[in-house]
Amino acid sequence: MSEPMRIRATVQGDVADVRILMRHPMETGQRKDAKGEIVPVHFIQNVVVTHNGRTVVDAQWSQAVSRDPFLGLRVKGAKAGDKIAVTWTDNKGDKRTDEATIVAAS
């Protein structure tokens, strides 16, 4: 099972600053393990971010995105209490969705 994402969404004015930290090995398929065997390629291919159910960012990634990926985005027309949901899908077909509530920037 994949570990939960950490999502922080703060709004200032009507623009939400969204920071997402995912847990994923993001294996390039070029790295060798201690036995000298190639570690199979395993990485997030798609990330979909929604704001109150509407898709705001639809990302496609390669294995060049770093391990435990960070993603920073900004969403206009947001207010405190709105929902941000993030779904990733990797090349093995594994999926994970997590949700956060936008809070006012302190």
């Binding site: 070029q30 790295r31 291919q45 798609n46 960012v57 060049a64 770093s66 920073g72 947001a78 090349n91």
Partner: protein
Amino acid sequence: MNRRRRTLLAWAGGTAAAAGLIPLRASAANWNKPGFEAKASNDAIKNLGAANLIESKEITITAPDIAENGAVVPVAVTSRIPNTQSISIVAEKNPFPLAATFDMANGAEPYASVRIKMGQTSHVRAVVKAADGRFYTASKEVKVTVGGCG
């Protein structure tokens, strides 16, 4: 420290020949397979649908001048081009140069921040698609000190 260094060296040393032996298993529907599997940045950019790229000062790439750890290079792209539809990030000398494409809609600002792996010193290129179908670009060199990591 050693482990990280080895990881990085493996990535840096992963030549096109080695890469060719490992086919990617693309299971996602919306994934630009030809773009992501292209080994030359020109081919990757062509597979974004861009025939001509217009150099633009309206794109800002925020990335370090020198990245001590090529496994984690923070790259943020901001576009001030009206009606930006998508932003792609290309690390020109990576085994597979196209690192990411972000499609924006429904109020998403034309901005994306990620951390990518870079095998060696290279230009990082941002390719922005506008609603009029034109493609704009800007680039920034990032020096990767492979031996200096950890």
